[in-house]
């Protein structure tokens, strides 16, 4: 590995030392930023590289969290194992997200463009309703608690979310340069041509769907175990699904570092809104507004706007500048 390619490892190591050197508030803020980076880059795996906008990314987050909690609450053996039980349950939560992605790919990937977005969002609503309507199993609106022995410490949660974020970014970076990544770009740019070149559209998209669901599911498990409590509005919230989309858009969709820039920006705005500013409007209104303004004025994001790198335009899944309708023939 060249020196240049190894460079990101240096800040990564510095960040890993965070819990021992930074103030507690900042560690918590970074933890939430890592969560958002994970979800945003997982979202962008499809949104940026394949042009498939998953508005239901939180489905996998909630699934990971709920499966983890249910296993710990319903399987006495896991509960008795303590931290080891938590680990197994969290891994099972990630696996549940992965397996459901494998299966959901069959119906959802039949949908294109806007219809994929609608379908994935409907899936999130369906999950929310299911959890709400089965209170005996899921606690309904009261949510679920696990006992204190399963709690993840701040340090552990920090390191785990940092790893998930780094792994998600690495995944996107590898994909951007790999054969699968090229196949994905080919599928996005021109499905027919890609098919003619022997690329199996469905397989490519399914693999991406699963790769984008698994870290998100694990992130849900880690988040749940760190807070010790989950409910629909926390792990299956509309905002939980929307934030990754906004983060990817703000940063620059289709760029490996885009979600990082976007997530940091968005978390900074969030912290500022909640702690330092008394605004006359509720926070979701601000995020909604950001999404409106960004998609109207800067559909390619901050990073693309700053670098103006040619590949930024080529890789971005965002709408191109105005151009006339494609001819129907010749």
């Amino acid at each position: 590995m060249s020196v240049r390619r190894a460079l990101p490892a240096v800040p990564l190591l510095l960040l890993a030392a965070g819990p021992w050197i930074l103030p507690r508030d900042l560690v918590t803020a970074l933890l939430f930023t890592f969560l958002l980076i994970t979800l945003a880059s997982n979202y962008d795996l499809l949104g940026g590289f394949l042009g498939l906008y998953n508005l239901g990314q939180a489905s996998f987050f909630g699934l990971g969290a709920y499966v983890t909690f249910l296993l710990l609450l319903r399987v006495p053996l896991l509960a008795a194992l303590g931290p080891a039980g938590s680990t197994v349950a969290a891994l099972a939560g990630g696996a549940a997200a992965a397996i459901s992605a494998v299966l959901l790919a069959y119906p959802l990937l039949r949908l294109r463009g806007a219809y994929f977005a609608v379908g994935t969002f409907a899936l999130l609503l369906l999950l929310r309703l299911t959890v709400d309507n089965l209170p005996q199993l899921t606690g309904g609106s009261h949510g679920l608690y696990v006992s204190a022995q399963h709690y993840l410490s701040l340090r552990a949660a920090y390191l785990l979310t940092l790893s998930l974020a780094a792994a998600s970014l690495l995944l996107n970076a590898l994909l951007a340069s790999s054969r699968l990544g090229m196949a994905m770009t080919a599928v996005r740019e021109n499905e027919l041509a890609a098919a003619a070149a022997g690329v199996d559209r469905f397989r490519v998209q399914q693999v991406a769907f699963v790769l984008g669901a698994t870290p998100t599911g694990l992130a849900g498990a880690v988040f749940g175990l760190h807070s010790g409590y989950i409910d629909v509005s926390v792990v299956l919230g509309i905002e939980r699904s929307l934030f990754p989309v906004i983060a990817a858009m703000i940063g620059g969709s289709g760029l490996v570092w885009g979600p990082v820039v976007g997530a940091v920006t968005l978390r900074a705005i969030d912290v500022a809104l909640k702690n330092y500013m008394q605004l006359p409007v509720p926070a979701p209104a601000i995020y909604g507004g950001i999404l409106v303004v960004m998609s109207l004025t800067m559909p390619k994001g901050i990073l693309a706007g700053l670098t103006r790198a040619p590949q930024a335009a080529a890789r971005s899944g965002s709408p191109a500048p105005p151009r006339p309708a494609r001819p129907r023939t010749r």
Partner: protein, 297 residues
């Protein structure tokens, strides 16, 4: 199940279904003519419901004048909506409009929803519920008692659907809208101005959404955060009925309304919202061609 009970559920389903059809039709007309998938459609409904509630409950207006005011006010809102949010997208390829319109209107939906809930809870009532209870006496049809407000809703829905039908089939702009929906390339070639059409459709469509929201809360109360669910229903019904197709939306809306009411009766009311989402999936999976091309006539 007794016959009167069945008939009562049937009327309930018809009312809900008629409302679904109305909101879905304005949604699908916008989708078919402008390729804008208006995620904020249900939120405009909720806003219409809130405005009607405000006018009737707090300003003491009659239901009908309140609806008139709401419809007129939202014509203006629709015009602004078109100018600010959609004008920048004019000239983009239809696929791009579809995708960017989702993001834009999704953001708008969340912003509007949050502001509505926030301010209503602060200034009007702490637990916002939008509902109208006009004093319209119920009447009996044989063994079945039909609630007055519900019958009124059904009547107004029928009138509004009729007016929309006439607008589309008898006026120049209505015919232009149908032409754009059926064949955009053909509409452009003969010199129709797509901006003129999209302005008209969005203005009327948003007003119709707000009006259907006002009508909705005469039958079923709403809270500020149900807009996105209503959008999903509008999408489901228009996809099932064929995008841009009024009779199709009517049939699909009523079918869904009936399905929900009977699901609610047999499985419990908490399951009826689920019904519409399950139907949505079924429609998405079984009729992708009808949705994608709008050839569901």
């Amino acid at each position: 199940m007794t016959l009167p009970l069945f008939l009562e559920l049937l009327v309930g389903g018809l009312v809900v279904g008629g409302l679904y059809a109305l909101m879905a039709f304005s949604f699908s007309l916008i989708l078919a003519t402008t390729h804008v998938l208006n995620v904020a459609h249900g939120v405009f409904m909720v806003l219409g419901a809130a405005a009607s509630t405000l006018l009737v409950r707090h300003l003491g207006l009659g239901v009908v004048p309140a609806f008139g005011l709401v419809a007129a006010g939202f014509l203006l809102v629709g015009m602004i909506f078109e100018a600010v949010l959609l004008k920048p997208m004019a000239g983009r390829a239809s696929g791009e409009v579809l995708v960017s319109s989702i993001l834009v209107t999704f953001g708008l939906a969340l912003a509007l929803e949050a502001m509505l809930g926030f301010y209503w809870a602060r200034h009007v009532e702490p637990q916002p519920i939008f509902a109208l209870h006009p004093r319209i006496s119920s009447f009996a049809l044989g063994d079945v008692v039909v609630s007055g407000p519900r019958a009124t809703v059904l009547g107004i829905v029928a009138v509004v659907v009729g007016v929309l039908h006439l607008l589309l089939t008898r006026t120049r702009i209505g015919k232009e809208a149908r032409a754009v929906a059926q064949n955009l390339a053909g509409a452009l070639v003969i010199g129709l101005n797509p901006r003129r059409v999209s302005r008209a459709v969005l203005t009327i469509g948003i007003a119709a959404a707000a009006l259907s929201g006002g009508l909705f809360v005469m039958a079923i109360p709403l809270n500020p955060f149900e807009g996105l669910r209503l959008t999903m229903i509008a999408f489901t019904v228009s996809a099932a009925g064929g995008v841009g197709n009024l009779p199709g939306a009517l049939a699909a809306g009523i079918a869904l309304g009936l399905a929900e009411v009977f699901t609610g009766f047999w499985a419990g009311p908490i399951w009826s919202p689920m019904m519409s989402l399950l139907v949505l999936f079924a429609v998405l999976l079984l009729r992708p061609a009808a949705i994608l091309t709008g050839q569901g006539r």
